[in-house]
């Protein structure tokens, strides 16, 4: 399996960063399953596979694009459910997303074609 260069983002990771940025405006924090559900809304896809999702989140956290913390155990206890691991986009994550978006936009722009000068 070929290794990816540091800083290179997969389409899934770019989408996660985009969602994480949008999530900042929401009252409820982002966690694994809520992210999977949001990703599945892209064109009615099925829920992202466990391994794919959590491997991407793990890599992005280690790269510093996302910050993570476990929610307050008391809250989970009150709602009688397991604790959620919450994710937030970091400053590095915003920069990486901005860069990826710029690159995607420039890739779509038509390239100038050099023509020979007519005499």
């Amino acid at each position: 399996m070929s290794r990816r260069k540091d800083g290179v983002l997969l389409p899934l990771e770019v989408r996660i960063l985009e969602l994480a940025e949008q999530w900042e405006a929401k009252p409820e924090p982002m966690y694994g399953f809520s992210l999977a559900a949001a990703l599945s809304e892209d064109g009615g896809k099925t829920l992202t596979a466990h391994g794919t999702l959590y491997k991407a989140l793990s890599r992005m956290t280690e790269a510093g694009y996302l910050t993570t913390e476990w929610e307050d155990p008391a809250l989970a206890e009150t709602e009688r459910r397991p604790r959620r691991r919450l994710y937030r986009i970091s400053a590095d994550g915003r920069a990486a997303f901005s860069k990826a978006r710029t690159e995607a936009t420039s890739a779509l722009l038509p390239r100038p074609v050099l023509r020979p000068v007519q005499p």
């Binding site: 694994g32 099925t46 992202t48 391994g51 794919t52 491997k55 793990s58 459910r81 691991r85």
Partner: protein, 178 residues
């Protein structure tokens, strides 16, 4: 986890067993995080399905599908975690000139090697017991194994099994001494 449990369908148990199995090969803190996160994910999926009135069989199918589609990524994650741990240990052992020689292969690979070795040993020993003296050497019957090949499998499997067992004992010893 605080008496909270996910719906105990056979499917959910199987998926959680798989998570518990592959995370055994990752460093303990990372492994526990992954286990807790997956438990929360599966719980949330059941909870959402219950709110939407979906039948449990439909949720089970989705959970299995998510687990199966993610198998390759799970194994890749474990390997990466193990390599990261090995790199850290290498740095530590470089700092200490008297550090023991490290066996840096993944525990998962060692387990597979042990299984292969056991199969190899069983096959070659059975071959020798069942057909010894008739199939080898003097009796040239069609499809008979070559004694040299069987001996190679026997010796190779024994070496592999000894190495795997040594690795297992070392790991157990290091866990007990922690």
């Amino acid at each position: 986890m605080n008496g909270i449990s996910v719906p105990a369908s056979r499917t959910t148990k199987a998926v959680l067993w798989w998570v518990a199995f592959y995370t055994r090969f990752a460093p303990e803190d990372t492994a526990q995080t992954r286990r807790d996160e997956l438990l929360s994910d599966i719980y949330e999926q059941h909870a959402l399905a219950a709110r939407q009135g979906l039948p449990p069989s439909a949720v089970d199918r989705t959970i299995v599908s998510r687990a199966v589609r993610g198998l390759a990524a799970d194994l890749n994650w474990v390997t990466n975690q193990h390599h990261r741990k090995a790199r850290t240990m290498t740095k530590t052992s470089e700092a200490s000139p008297h550090a023991p020689i490290m066996i840096s292969l993944s525990s998962l690979i060692w387990s597979l090697a042990a299984i292969t070795a056991v199969i190899g040993l069983a096959t070659s020993i059975t071959e020798m017991i069942d057909y010894g003296g008739q199939r080898f050497g003097l009796v040239p019957w069609p499809g008979a194994s070559n004694i040299n090949t069987t001996l190679c499998i026997l010796v190779g499997s024994a070496i592999l099994l000894i190495a795997s067992a040594t690795k297992g004992v070392m790991k157990l010893h290091s866990r007990m001494s922690r």
